[in-house]
Subunit: 250 residues, 2 copies
């Protein structure tokens, strides 16, 4: 039997509001469409649905930009209030040029605009990344255990750009229940040489695998990865953060 797995979008989730129970909503929607969550599934959640449920929304009308935010906004040709929010969500600026602001978020992720996003929320509102996406993923995992008696892996995923390549890809910013890296360290090729490309970012690969069935218009903010063996682990997404000391691009 060849190795194979399936990626299934979860339809019918509807609009999520602050305080909503994402696990309840996803468990019910998956069951309604005939693909109830089951042990061994990896559930990929869009950052947006998690942020909304956690109330990680800000109204730009309530934001007073600092002098620095106003200066940057002028240079970048952007809304000073939005720049203020991005700076508050960041702990370091990686690049600021040509209208683009790439920062390191408080979590350590390097991305454009600190993950602050204006689409799929009400006008004047912006959505911030979850405060602790690993905690969000763990809470979802625990609730699915309670609601559906299923032991699932969970990814909170967001679309990030990459240097050198066009187009965004979905990557993992929160992980629960499985090992985000898959290591071939110590294994050898048929010629007996140690493998070179030895550690794969499985959680990022599964985030990317889920994206094509997840509607960008927020209509399908969750997907199920089914049939792929993963290694149980409690390490969370931090394993995907490169140690700055080993990073040539900071």
């Amino acid at each position: 039997m060849p190795p194979r797995y399936e990626v299934i979008g979860v339809e019918g989730i509807g609009e999520v509001r602050p305080g909503d129970d994402v696990a309840r909503v996803v468990v019910d929607a998956a069951a309604r469409q005939g693909t109830p969550l089951a042990t061994g599934d990896v559930v990929v959640l869009s950052q947006k649905i998690v942020s909304k449920a956690e109330g990680r929304l800000l109204n730009l009308a309530d934001v007073t930009p600092s002098t620095m935010a106003t200066t940057f906004a002028t240079e970048l040709g952007r809304d000073p209030r939005l720049i203020e929010v991005i700076l508050r969500e960041s702990r370091r600026i990686v690049r600021m040029d040509r209208g683009v602001l790439v920062t390191e978020t408080r979590h350590g992720w390097v991305c454009a605009n600190a993950g602050v996003d204006q689409s799929n929320v009400d006008a004047e509102m912006v959505a911030l990344l979850p405060e602790d996406p690993d905690r969000s993923a763990r809470a979802f995992r625990d609730s699915v255990r309670a609601y559906a008696r299923a032991e699932v892996g969970v990814i909170v995923a967001d679309t990030f750009g990459r240097p050198w390549r066009e187009g965004l890809v979905n990557i993992a910013i929160g992980v629960a229940g499985f090992a985000p890296l898959r290591s071939y360290l110590g294994e050898r090729d048929p010629a007996g040489r140690p493998l070179q490309a030895t550690i794969l970012a499985l959680a990022d690969e599964l985030s990317s695998a889920a994206e094509p069935v997840m509607g960008k218009l927020d209509r399908i903010p969750a997907a199920i990865v089914r049939g792929l063996p993963v290694a149980p682990s409690e390490e969370g997404s931090k394993a995907l953060l490169r140690d700055p000391a080993r990073d040539l691009f900071r």
Copy 2:
């Protein structure tokens, strides 16, 4: 019906040698395991199988390092002959530090070691990237059309590292038969605002989706992505190359 697709590894491909017909081998192996290639499939091929079939192999014993390669090799603590090969495959050095050599290949891809790889080839041999991975992908597509009467999309994929994140992911270095980018430009969210994350690197996402079923030990150098609608296109992988003028990290 929820959107869903499947990823299927192709087993039983065996060792590929220079001059072998990769399309013949993959078409036959897919049929033998009961998943014959069909119209609408996207076939993901490992760079290594394509490079081997195309004879893109070099024996380090035949390589005489230049003075520059020897100097770099000393700084990096690596084999001067390997550095010589990497430099020959590159058109620009992006970073050289801490034992790592990141270059821009002749194709324009930015990656470690210009994609030159020592695993899964005989000792002293190295595998280079295909000369023109888009041409390799097109040739595979044309042969599948002839052998299996199936109209497939094709990706030649390699595992690349990324700045800021641990672990490698599979990405596309060659594409045929479908559009590697999926654009939401012009679409609006339910609040009527233009979407922000508007262009997704579908070919990279599908490369990543395929990796978990493709054996790193080269035993499964091909995978089938089945059931996902893709847009026919002849543009190839160049659409995934970021214009250096718009790149903040060169």
